[in-house]
């Protein structure tokens, strides 16, 4: 991989990590009611987002995909308007944080209903296929827990039958809130589910952004060229509690988290880039400071914006102003 791309991967990972850190700070300070972090998912999301072709592909993400959303071009300010639930938020302050909508970027609006979005991704893919838009594909992301849902299985089967241009991207962090993978399924590799649908499946190290990029890039390329769907499992870990409302000490040992932390993809990838002489320690420090500054500005800018008006409660229910009684 080109040095410039490797630098870009690190930049995306750092941006993701720093924003998460700020969001949890804001929550502890009582400035926002809720935060949802992706620490441990940065490499997987940076790698996958680098494989996404802007202006061509579509991303149907899940709620933990801040890094993916940023990676395909979501402006940082939109993250903070979402955290502060401002009027300018992409949902107008309706949705939880990290449920973005940006049609122009190909970033699809989702609900918080686990796996409900997976069939939508197939619909987007089939629409591309129907319009004969070769060179485009859909990236659909979800967690390990989502693969227990019937909707997930229906969507993968449908995609395979129709050879829809969709890459199903599972970020397996081993946990669905408090339930470990072993209580969700009898298999170790979620990629093994692919064979049941007749599509290729592969498992990659989700802490290695280059490995993830390679896998997602190959799968997207295949989909873009009429080769059909595939399933990629990126094994990672969730360092933070499920959300700011969760206390993970009730269901997992702190030692487990500490052990996983020793493999934290961020310092690891920084070290690798320094070893490869792609970046110097000073350059990385400078990059971090720049990102911090950028985030800080966006945060304060968003905080100063207006809140949604109560009037907006009733807008965008229908295209018109239909009430139940006419």
């Amino acid at each position: 991989m080109k040095a410039s791309e490797q630098r870009e991967l690190l930049r995306r990972m750092l941006l993701h990590r720093q924003i998460d850190t700020r969001a949890f700070q804001l929550n502890r300070q009582g400035r926002i009611p809720f935060a949802l972090g992706g620490e441990g998912h940065e490499a997987a999301q940076a790698g996958a987002s680098l494989a996404f072709m802007r202006g061509q592909d579509v991303l149907v993400p899940y709620y933990r995909d801040l890094g993916l959303a940023l990676g395909i071009g979501l402006p940082v300010i939109d993250v903070f308007t979402s955290l502060f639930a401002k009027k300018a938020d992409t949902s107008g302050g309706r949705q939880f944080p990290s449920h973005f909508s940006n049609k122009a970027l190909g970033l699809v609006s989702i609900s918080s209903i686990i796996a409900a979005h997976v069939a939508h991704a197939v619909g987007f893919g089939l629409a591309m296929q129907y319009r004969k838009e070769r060179g485009r594909a859909v990236l659909c992301s979800f967690g390990d827990g989502a693969t227990s849902q019937g909707e997930w299985h229906e969507a993968l089967n449908f995609a395979a039958v129709m050879q829809a241009p969709v890459v199903f991207f599972c970020q397996n962090n081993g946990w669905a809130i408090s339930v470990p993978q072993s209580k969700q399924m009898r298999i170790n590799d979620i990629a093994d589910r692919a064979i049941g649908y007749g599509m290729p499946g592969s498992t990659v190290d989700g802490f290695d952004p280059i490995a993830v990029y390679d896998a997602v890039h190959a799968a997207l390329e295949r989909a873009r060229n009429g080769g059909g769907p595939s399933l990629i499992e990126a094994k990672c870990y969730r360092f933070l509690p499920h959300t700011s409302d969760d206390d993970d000490r009730t269901y997992r040992q702190p030692e487990e988290v500490e052990t996983q932390r020793t493999r934290d993809p961020l310092p690891t990838f920084e070290r690798q880039l320094i070893e490869k002489q792609i970046y110097s320690t000073d350059e990385i420090a400078l990059l971090k400071a720049e990102l911090y500054e950028h985030i800080d500005q966006a945060l304060e800018e968003a905080a100063a914006l207006e809140n949604p008006s109560a009037d907006s409660l009733t807008t965008n229910v229908y295209a018109g102003t239909e009430k139940a009684w006419l």
């Binding site: 579509v58 149907v60 992409t90 949902s91 107008g92 309706r94 949705q95 449920h99 909508s101 940006n102 049609k103 699809v108 609006s109 609900s111 209903i113 409900a116 997976v118 069939a119 939508h120 991704a121 197939v122 619909g123 987007f124 893919g125 089939l126 629409a127 591309m128 296929q129 129907y130 019937g150 909707e151 229906e154 969507a155 089967n157 449908f158 039958v161 129709m162 807008t315 965008n316 229910v317 229908y318 295209a319 239909e322 009430k323 139940a324 009684w325 006419l326």
Partner: protein, 326 residues
């Protein structure tokens, strides 16, 4: 054209497919079989498998995929083979389709038509007989229509296809081949949310929809020989519902009988009764009465059980008489 309801649906779908490239039909057995009621007969040959999509047996995915297609600019018309099978897709309809516009603040929309045959009296037993409207009409963001005459079927299906929001299009199976009428060849529309006075009268207002409008008209015709003048309103649309027509009629008749096949408790009639009680209580010369499907889980298969469930035109006539004599 001279058509029954099946042919009205078929002709209208055919025109729409011819007119608008964005329209695709998807569902179980809609292709080679041409739908179990032959509504899409020969469409596959004419429009091809990209537009007439035989899907896997997968209701949740049928609607989920259609939602994705609709969000991406197609105009999918999804079919649920029988309304009784719609519940696997409940989440996609209520949780996703109905909320797409709202949750993305208008960035994404979901112009989706879901067609499904419903209703009893066809020896359909427990799982080919039910009415589903009450389970969906609670949901803002959805529209529901249930036309029962060929001219209304054509006009409302055209309106549904043109509508920018998700619509549940209910086709009563018992009306499919009930009557033939001459209807216009043009692709005219009937506004969603507009009731139709199928028979005017002065002594009593009957509000109904679906197959029971046909029976109520029979009963009303019978009563005219007894000098009882019954006005029969066919709602045609269930959400939004036409308040004006109902209230105007009551200001003339001062008596309201609501008839529907779906259960009484929490049903469409309850909402109408509540509306009338709060907006026109002092117009009423008799208590509002509801003649509805019984409070049992399902329709039986045996003739006797099915008859006991359905309401005959004789029973309707009796209720009408009683109300006028109150």
């Amino acid at each position: 054209m001279n058509v029954n309801n099946v042919e009205a649906v078929r002709a209208t779908l055919h025109d729409a497919l011819t007119r608008d490239e964005r329209i695709v039909i998807l569902g179980e057995d809609v292709g080679a079989r041409g739908n179990v009621f032959l509504i899409t007969k020969d469409f596959l040959q004419e429009f091809g498998p990209q537009r007439i999509v035989d899907t896997p047996l997968s209701e949740s995915a049928i609607i989920g995929v259609a939602v994705g297609m609709a969000m991406d600019g197609l105009r999918p018309i999804a079919e649920i083979q029988f309304a009784d099978f719609i519940f696997p897709a409940f989440n996609q309809i209520v949780g996703e389709a109905a909320k797409t516009r709202y949750r993305s603040n208008g960035d994404y929309t979901c112009p989706l038509v879901i067609r499904t045959p419903y209703g009893g009296g066809v020896r359909g037993a427990l799982s080919h007989s039910i009415s589903i409207e009450a389970l969906f009409y609670h949901v803002p963001g959805l529209k529901i229509v249930a036309p029962a005459f060929p001219a209304d079927v054509r006009g409302l299906l055209n309106a549904a296809i043109a509508d920018p929001d998700p619509i549940l299009f209910l086709e009563h199976k018992k009306t499919y081949r009930l009557a033939r009428t001459d209807i216009a060849d043009e692709a005219y529309t009937i506004p969603i949310g507009q009731a139709d006075i199928k028979r005017s009268g002065t002594d009593l207002t009957v509000v109904s929809y679906g197959y029971f409008v046909h029976l109520a008209l029979e009963a009303a015709a019978k009563l005219s020989s007894e000098d009882i003048s019954v006005e029969v309103i066919d709602l045609r649309s269930i959400r939004p519902m036409d308040k004006t027509t109902i209230l105007q009629s009551l200001s003339k008749t001062h008596r309201l009988l609501i008839i529907h096949e779906d259960h009484a408790f929490g049903g469409i009639g309850a909402e109408i009764a509540a509306m009338v009680a709060s907006e026109a209580l002092f117009e009423l010369d008799a208590p509002i009465r509801r003649l509805c499907g019984p409070d049992v889980p399902a329709m039986g298969y045996a003739h006797a059980l099915e008859d006991a469930y359905m309401i005959s035109s004789e029973q309707m006539a009796t209720a009408m008489r009683e109300m006028v004599q109150f």
